[in-house]
Subunit: 210 residues, 4 copies
Amino acid sequence: MSLQTPHTVDPDSREGSVQRGRDVAAAILESATEKFHRRGFHGASMRAVADGAGVTLSNVYNYFPAKSDILLAILRTAVTEQIKITTSAVAGAGSSVVDRYSAGVESFVLFDLEHLDVAFVANSELRYLDAPQREEIVALRDVQQALFEELIREGVALGGFRTPHPREAATATLTMCAGVTVWYRPSGPLSARALARRYARYALAIVEGT
Amino acid sequence: MSLQTPHTVDPDSREGSVQRGRDVAAAILESATEKFHRRGFHGASMRAVADGAGVTLSNVYNYFPAKSDILLAILRTAVTEQIKITTSAVAGAGSSVVDRYSAGVESFVLFDLEHLDVAFVANSELRYLDAPQREEIVALRDVQQALFEELIREGVALGGFRTPHPREAATATLTMCAGVTVWYRPSGPLSARALARRYARYALAIVEGT
Amino acid sequence: MSLQTPHTVDPDSREGSVQRGRDVAAAILESATEKFHRRGFHGASMRAVADGAGVTLSNVYNYFPAKSDILLAILRTAVTEQIKITTSAVAGAGSSVVDRYSAGVESFVLFDLEHLDVAFVANSELRYLDAPQREEIVALRDVQQALFEELIREGVALGGFRTPHPREAATATLTMCAGVTVWYRPSGPLSARALARRYARYALAIVEGT
Amino acid sequence: MSLQTPHTVDPDSREGSVQRGRDVAAAILESATEKFHRRGFHGASMRAVADGAGVTLSNVYNYFPAKSDILLAILRTAVTEQIKITTSAVAGAGSSVVDRYSAGVESFVLFDLEHLDVAFVANSELRYLDAPQREEIVALRDVQQALFEELIREGVALGGFRTPHPREAATATLTMCAGVTVWYRPSGPLSARALARRYARYALAIVEGT
DNA sequence: GATGAATGAGCATTCATTCAT
DNA sequence: TATGAATGAATGCTCATTCAT
């Protein structure tokens, strides 16, 4: 499942240039994600991105003014989407903090596992954005981090979690979770869902939940 | 403290120009580490590496036949050194598994914190090595991973740890620990040693130590 | 007369700058031929080739993926064209073997004299092509050699030629003829046509024609 | 048999620096000959020459001030030696012009066949010498050419040869003979001596000897 | 939107040569 | 003689980007 190509498309809007423009941009983002994942931002050439998208090199520039804008678009979508998914997972969980925190972590890991290359790129290539672009993404990640941190603080206040350092616990947990994109292979013995549950358990342990 | 500059230098040989007295290969490795950290392997040019080392571009090639050999040398040194340090930390700790595991994790994190850029490069740029070179480093990392995994299994056998999945716990812990190189800044409020201790506690929680 | 500039050009399209009107690929091949002739394949730089063609260095690579492909293109054109010319000269000559052989040799030499640099490069730089590319050209040269060898065998069969070694006679003759590209200067006293006739006479003597 | 390493060495002179100097220079020339043959003058690096000679790169410069001096030395030796050999072959032959011319051509070809790489280099790489060095070799080749041309003129005067163009016949013959270095392989079916005799016959035909 | 041609700066690497010892 | 270290210029080639159509 790709983040860039939505699988539900309104059939009425399939014609006309706007829709075709959407398709092309999506193809470029998809190709770029794969290339950035495999070769890194600086190791992947615009030609390779264009070729992978089945698009003319020059035409890429009709959709993205510069290479870094492609990376920015990938990261923006990824982080935004992950915030949405974790937020709604937390909202949809049971009323106990433990349940809500677990649901949040599980959905976070699941997102990374289901979008391995996007998530990997989001973690590893952010540093190649120039300051203004980078700050936009960093701000979004702060939102994501705050979501978990708040839950931890809440758990500590309610007595369910006993970690003395909510902020560092959140940071450690998030980097641990993001780490799955480095080594997980879908062909392995562990299903994404099972792994996500396992990580939720680690996360609970880190905040010293009872 | 740099990994590349040998600790034992004959003080009598320090005369002569500062630049010449310093080992050229070490200067190149140090510069390359910094450049690879800041710009990534493909984003850092050999010219930048040479300039940073105060060395002629062509002279770099008198010490390293190719760019990738510089990366290889950095990774080899880093991983080897970290194995040594963690191994001896484990050996020098108390007899209980909890103590030995904690000491191992703490020294692992401490190493990363004291060689932030080297450790960061070791984690993020390994994938840019070609297969044969990459496999050499991967084999070394497997040794490192085995060290922790064995300790966990031992703890489980003795009853001190209760995690049902030693291998995954080790993986999760190591990626969590390696994650500190992404965000830690020495100028921050937390000392390296304090942070390392904190991570040892997280690690213990993950393996569900009592 | 150049081999690279096509003979039939639409006169109406000659407007626009002289440089642009000229085919870029042809200009590159022409310049490369001259540079390879003067400095040799390894002694001629792509920058020199580009400059000689009035073309940007990088633009050369829009037409030829590698330096060796330029050499390949030159040799392919040269050898193919020479085969065509000698074949049709043989076909258009009188019915006697002596006449046909003489016509073949004469046209062969004439081709070399009228395309001195191309022919010189074809003789001297072939060895710098990598195996697969070289074999393509070698196969073409075998066709050329076979043309003459067959004529000699025919002459021997009919009694006009008395050489006991048709193959070696053909080889000796062709290398002798190709040799003119080394020393002939159009400014000299001997016209190309006269020299070609003289070589046809040598060739006849070598096969011991009556 | 190499031109550079004499096979008769005075055993008494084997020690001391002069003799060792000789050996080193000879090794360099031998290696350079092989490299120039295989890769061409510009395609062969000084490092490759040094390595092939089992000599330090810097030490090469103790014997030859520049790369082109190595080429010059090779060519000088080769051409000089060939002149000597052909001259004495002519002198040692029977009294008839036909015999003397045949002996000259045969010994010329034989020299090329017995020193394939040296002779090849002498033919193909001469053009890479700068003007003053090149002229020295060209002057030597003129001597070689004059030897054959004089014989032809003598033969014409005496009535044995009937070619109307002694000079062009000599040129054609010499380029034909030199051509053997391009294709001859000692492993082939034809012995060097047999091939040389065959070429002497071609040469006689070219000058229209009776 | 889409294209093919073009560009200038930059890339990793190699060159012949020099120099201090 | 001999060496190991060093150098500046050049090598073939690729880069992200632009532009005219």
